[in-house]
């Protein structure tokens, strides 16, 4: 009954790809681009997590804090 869990693999995939790009860019000597790629990957994953947090809080609010 757990919802869509493919998002876990998706995030792991994003993490691995970002790590790869980071390593390649670092090898090429482009340190600042490598940092930027890491940041972008982090923000994309953060958006997923924020969605999930908002879902959870909505659910909690409807279960515990209903008015009336």
């Amino acid at each position: 009954m757990i919802g869509d869990t493919s998002i876990l693999f998706q995030i792991a995939g994003i993490g691995i790809i970002v790590a790869m790009i980071h390593t390649i860019l670092k090898q090429m000597g482009k340190e600042e681009y490598a940092q930027f790629v890491s940041l972008v990957g982090f923000i994309i994953v953060l958006l997923f997590v924020l969605n999930s947090i908002s879902d959870l809080f909505q659910e909690i609010r409807s279960v515990f804090f209903y008015k009336g």
Partner: protein, 132 residues
């Protein structure tokens, strides 16, 4: 219901393997993966918590308890639930001191929510034994 424990355990194992894979290269994304897993678990278990709470509300209605009391109890449970989630997530990041503060604030809020019930209890006692 008895089969869903397998789902939970397998998701936990898969998430921990993926976190181990990412930990030394991208620690921030690994941490977000942990957070997402924790959120999924809490989102999963709230369905069953909801059933238990419906039982509590039903019993309260049958026993003719004032609905404000039941609602206060539900809100207290909700605050402790949210505080627990937050403290767990922060503790996973290794920030134990912030987790302790979240729990402390949750306790204070619970105490504040309990004040009206405590007041009505004291008033009832004073009505039974009037202080002359």
């Amino acid at each position: 219901m008895s089969m869903e424990i397998f789902e939970v355990v397998s998701i936990g194992v898969i998430a921990s393997v993926l976190v181990l894979l990412l930990k030394d290269k991208q620690p921030a994304i690994a941490y977000l993966l942990i957070v997402l897993t924790v959120l999924y678990f809490f989102l999963f278990v709230i369905q069953y918590v909801k059933e238990v709470l419906q039982l509590v509300v039903f019993l309260g209605e049958k026993a003719n308890i004032h609905s404000a009391y039941i609602q206060t109890i539900l809100q207290i449970i909700g605050i402790s639930y949210v505080a627990e989630i937050g403290a767990n997530i922060v503790k996973d990041a290794g920030l134990d001191s912030i987790a302790v503060k979240i729990e402390l604030i949750g306790k204070v809020f619970i105490l504040i929510l309990a004040i009206p019930i405590f007041k009505s209890l004291i008033e009832t006692i004073i009505n039974i034994f009037p202080i002359t």
